[in-house]
């Protein structure tokens, strides 16, 4: 395993008093690892990603990114300071911004933002959509834009939460191929959450099964 980029120890989290959504999770991801977490709906996969991203606070345990403690039950470094990319199923593109503006959103202060955005548009084969708005492009194209937007700030690692589940099978196959190529070209780690074993096997080289908030 390469240098650790993500280290999770004894992580627990619950949304209510009586039900734990995440129970005693331990995980280590190296800087070039491509890991997927497989499990049925409601097993806690998305909650785990939200905890890593800093969008939720854990009840117990700790999360380290690049050997810096970012979450425990007392301290929480906010999401914007973690340098993590997250792509979700609903894409969450900003509807009032063009494709280009969406991609540049996280690198507004970077003087090379135009160059970075152009490279990503090219890499993800969406150059022609540069000036379009999210509602003017298809679901698969939206997912490519969301991925480009997450990659633009050059995150420590990228998390994908069921990114392809809303797309049809033909489109998925094309995206698997294209995006796997993008991941191969990238130097950052990837953590994919999905319920689709085929997707997990194509996109990542290590699969972990999760059920009822626990790794099994």
């Amino acid at each position: 395993m390469s240098n650790l980029i993500l280290e999770i120890k004894n992580l627990c989290h619950s949304y209510s008093e009586h039900a734990l959504s995440i129970e005693n999770i331990n995980l280590e991801i190296g800087s070039r690892d491509r890991v997927s977490i497989l499990g049925p709906s409601g097993c806690g996969k998305s909650t785990l990603l939200r905890l890593i991203a800093g969008l939720e606070k854990p009840d117990q345990g700790e999360i380290k990114i690049n050997d810096i403690k970012v979450s425990d039950n007392k301290n929480l470094i906010p999401p914007e300071k973690r340098n993590i990319g997250l792509v979700v199923q609903e894409k969450a593109l900003f509807p009032h911004l063009s494709v280009f503006e969406n991609i540049c959103f996280g690198i507004k202060k970077n003087k090379d933002k135009d160059l970075i955005a152009s490279e990503l548009l090219n890499l993800l084969k969406i150059d022609s959509l540069k000036n379009k708005y999210p509602h003017e492009i298809s679901g698969g194209e939206q997912q490519r834009v969301a991925l480009a937007r997450s990659l633009a700030p050059k995150p420590n690692f990228l998390m994908l939460d069921e990114p392809f589940s809303a797309l049809d099978e033909d489109l998925k196959e094309t995206l698997y191929k294209d995006i796997s190529q993008v991941f191969s070209d990238m130097s950052s780690a990837i953590l994919l959450v999905t319920h689709d074993r085929n997707e997990a096997e194509i996109m990542t080289n290590k699969q972990i099964r999760m059920e009822e908030g626990k790794f099994i």
Binding site: R50, L86, A92, F94, P95, F105, G106
Partner: protein, 535 residues
């Protein structure tokens, strides 16, 4: 102060400012009681209570009949004009009760236009009056009912639309006729919604000053005004205001609880909307009249009378005073609209950004101002400004009592709920995943608000500014009391002209108020058209 503390403290700080005038008014109950209080208690308090009671009962009955029957007619039947009546039935909401009261006396007084016309047509003597005197409590009941029934109409129509056709058809199969289906089944089922609408009507009735003052009816609001401006006794005025505030508080709590209890609706997944029966002949005419009469009395008649008055003075009303009143009104309403929209935006953002059950509960209290009569707010605001002048600003040689600050603050407290409802519903349409993405891309707090939320909420912000503006333009009692010396708004000009019985001159500012009051009606009518069962 770090930014997390700022977002958490903001709703509490605003709540302190919003409730301060009300707490000052209520605190008067624990102060000294003057001789004026004893006099009021012995001789007139009973009149205030009984007039208010009769008014509330009369208006409630009439409003329930008008609101539910018209709503049932437009949702259950198809007849000529039905598509227009659906939204036109809310037009009377644009006429403040005091303007309908002024036009009513102009029409139905002994030498009013309606009696003059009737005498001319029937060739009667000048001493004969066909229409009865309306300057009494019965006239006031009619005025309030025909301007406020849309509150009940709106909720009833929405509830009737949600009633399943199969339920009504089952009732017909079990032997109920159309009318029995209405009063034995459909009406009891929408009871919680109707009660919610009725509570709003009662609060508006109790809060009114202009109409009851014009009809010389002794109610709490006229009593508070006379105690303050006639007896110059603000302590007793506040004690009277406290009683009214407590009464309104009961109806406010009742209205909130009916909201949480919801309405009885079909939870059947095979729900089918009600089918409209097509009417012809005398049945169609009856349905037409049922819907037309409330619009005629509550909107068409006063508009005709106002236009006739304006026509009689040619363009003379378009003078310096009218222009300055219009500018004052528009500036005040625009400033208030922008403050309310800004506050509602910040507070809704703070709730979303740092969710907390406590903050949410306190924030919902910020909307309490809409239930508080303008007169009570004004009384509390004057006292608050006096305290601020004496305790905070005395060393700075600044006096804010009698300035526009108090007036704008009172408007903001009174109309914040309107801005909040628009921005709140706008926020409900923005997915929280956009916030997550924004945070992960390094944009949170002010940056997220300005670059994501504000652009996405543009329409909601504009709507909230317009809604507040249209309400501020109509506001009378708080403006009358809190305005700086010689500062007139359209509502104050209308009131002053009407109290001097110069109705022709009152027409122009009154028409301007109605025109601006039509703004929210346009929004509502759009919603009504898009909420038809077919959509």
């Amino acid at each position: 102060m770090n930014r997390l503390t700022f977002w958490r403290l903001l709703p509490f700080a605003v709540l302190v400012v919003f409730t301060a005038p009300l707490l000052i008014v209520l605190s008067s109950l624990f102060g000294d009681y003057s001789e004026n209080w004893s006099h009021l208690f012995q001789f007139v308090l009973f009149d205030y209570v009984s007039s208010s009671f009769i008014l509330v009962i009369g208006v409630s009955i009439l409003v329930l009949i008008l609101g539910t029957v018209t709503a049932w007619t437009v949702t259950s039947y198809n007849f000529v004009g039905k598509n227009i009546f659906e939204w036109a039935l809310i037009l009377p909401l644009s006429i403040p009760p005091y303007i309908l009261a002024y036009t009513f006396t102009g029409l139905f007084d002994h030498y009013g236009d309606a009696n003059n016309l009737a005498r001319l047509l029937l060739n009667l003597q000048n001493s004969t009056a066909i229409f009865p005197n309306v300057r009494n409590i019965y006239g006031a009941i009619i005025v309030f009912s025909f301007t406020l029934y849309p509150y009940v109409y709106l909720v009833s129509r929405s509830a009737f639309i949600n009633q399943s056709r199969s339920m009504k058809e089952s009732a017909r199969m079990l032997g109920l006729n159309q009318f029995q289906v209405f009063y034995k089944l459909a009406l009891p089922l929408i009871r919680p919604a109707v009660i919610g609408g009725l509570m709003l009507v009662i609060m508006e009735t109790l809060s009114d000053f202009g109409a009851v003052d014009h009809f010389a009816i002794q109610t709490f609001t006229t009593g508070i005004f006379r105690t303050w401006y006639g007896l110059y006794d603000i302590q007793t005025a506040m004690q009277l205001a406290s009683l009214l505030l407590l009464t309104v508080g009961v109806f406010y709590i009742a209205e909130r609880s009916t909201r949480s209890s919801g309405i009885y609706t079909s939870n059947n997944s095979t729900f089918s909307p009600s089918k409209e029966d097509s009417l012809v002949g005398y049945k169609a005419l009856t349905a037409f009249l049922i819907c037309f009469i409330p619009i005629f009395i509550g909107f068409i008649l006063p508009i005709i009378e106002l236009i006739l008055w304006a026509y009689e003075v040619n363009l003379e009303f378009f003078n310096q005073k009218f222009i300055s009143s219009s500018i004052n009104t528009l500036s005040l309403s625009l400033v208030t609209g922008m403050i309310c929209a800004g506050l509602a935006l910040l507070i809704n953002f703070s709730i979303r950004y740092k969710p907390s059950a406590l903050v949410q509960r306190f924030s919902s209290l910020l909307s309490i101002g809409y239930a508080v009569p303008g007169l009570i707010l004004a009384v509390g605001m004057v006292q608050l400004l006096v305290y601020v002048d004496a305790l905070v600003l005395s060393g700075l040689d600044i006096v804010i009592t009698g300035s526009l600050i108090g007036l704008v603050l009172a408007y903001v407290i009174k109309t914040y709920a309107l801005a909040n409802s628009s921005i709140e519903s706008g926020y409900e349409r923005i997915s929280s995943s956009l916030d997550d993405s924004s945070k992960l891309l390094g944009s949170s707090g002010w940056s997220m608000l300005s670059s994501i939320h504000v652009p996405l909420l543009k329409t909601s912000i504009l709507t909230s500014v317009l809604l507040v503006m249209s309400d501020v333009v109509k506001e009378l009692p708080a403006t009358l009391i809190l305005r700086p010396f010689n500062f007139e708004t359209l509502a104050v000009s209308t009131y002053i002209y009407a109290s001097e019985e110069r109705m022709l001159q009152a027409a122009a500012p009154a028409i301007a108020i109605v025109l601006i009051g039509l703004i929210p009606i346009v929004f509502l009518s759009k919603m009504i058209r898009s909420s038809r069962p077919a959509h």
